[in-house]
């Protein structure tokens, strides 16, 4: 029986962001941008969608007089990611 895949996560960039954040406590926006190879604008749009879904927290602050954006996955995001991976497994040949 195939389980439905979470549409928020089932997109290339949003899944990449969540996969990066699942392994760390928090990461800077610039790091995520570098690792995903996405443009700042596109990444910003996708991260807003993840934030609206409650999957990530975005904290804007200053570090040594420069603006810094910190992103971290939320407990809701962790649960959604785990459910997504579980659902994905049902599609794979056994």
């Amino acid at each position: 029986m195939f389980k439905e895949l979470d549409p928020i996560l089932h997109s290339q960039l949003r899944l990449a962001v969540m996969s990066l954040l699942i392994g760390v406590k928090e990461a800077e926006f610039t790091y995520i941008k570098e690792q995903t190879g996405a443009t700042a604008g596109n990444l910003s749009v996708q991260m807003t969608k993840l934030k609206e879904a409650g999957y990530i927290d975005v904290i804007k602050q200053f570090k040594e007089n420069y603006p810094q954006t910190i992103c971290k996955i939320t407990p809701v995001g962790i649960a959604a990611f785990e459910a997504y991976v579980k659902a994905l497994q049902s599609y794979l040949p056994k």
Partner: protein
């Protein structure tokens, strides 16, 4: 990377790739372990030579370990500034090493107070009976190596760096052996422990870090 719908295989590939990249970010620069491994190994070997050749230098070589705190502070601040990702266990490991630092100072203070009180009694007993009894420092080094093992094993195990875990276990085994060997050889055991726990793992970490840096992964 663009916004597009994915096949299940593509999803799995992205998850694998990204988790792997996040893991690469936790490659230690290796400078800290190299610094402390080199300093403690050198001081221990110097102390061994001092006892073996009956040398009386006008300084205490262990002040070098105190001086090493200064570059360590600079290294820690620089690495913290450069780090763009924080791992789940970063804070915990930070506290573990902070407790280790405090623990080493406490053990040294307690050892010095104990040796100050106990060594004269042992010396008197030795003179009276002619028995070959070591002074307090025969056991003091064992306590220190026991403390060295703790954070090393925890860091090695949590970062899955087996060589460091083995180095920490060597510290504990050395602590046990040091309880039965003369003080002079305790310092040789300490040199081996520091080299295996920090210096050699540090060099390996450094090589790994430089290789990753060359590839542009860190």
């Amino acid at each position: 990377m663009q916004e597009k719908q994915l096949s299940e295989q593509e999803s799995l590939l992205i998850i694998q790739q990204m988790i792997g990249r996040a893991r690469n970010e936790f490659v230690d620069t290796g400078i800290g372990p190299i610094l402390w491994g080199a300093v403690i190994t050198f001081c221990s070997l110097f102390q061994f030579a001092q006892i073996h050749f009956h040398l009386h230098p006008p300084f205490d070589i262990w002040f070098l370990a105190l001086l090493a705190i200064i570059p360590q502070i600079f290294i820690s601040v620089k690495e913290k500034r450069a780090r763009r990702v924080k791992g789940w266990d970063d804070d915990i490991l930070g506290y573990v090493w902070l407790c280790f630092g405090v623990g080493v100072v406490l053990v040294n203070v307690i050892n010095n107070v104990a040796s100050h009180d106990i060594n004269p009694i042992i010396r008197q007993y030795r003179e009276m009976t002619g028995a070959e009894v070591g002074n307090f420092w025969t056991f003091g080094t064992a306590y220190l190596m026991f403390v060295y093992g703790f954070p090393t094993i925890i860091t090695g195990a949590s970062r899955k760096f087996h060589l460091m875990t083995v180095g920490g276990i060597v510290c504990w085994v050395s602590a046990l052996i040091a309880a039965f060997t003369p003080t002079k050889f305790d310092f040789l055991l300490m040199a081996v422990s520091a080299a295996l726990a920090w210096l050699i793992p540090g060099i390996i970490l450094r090589k790994k870090y430089l290789a990753q840096k060359k590839q542009g992964n860190v």
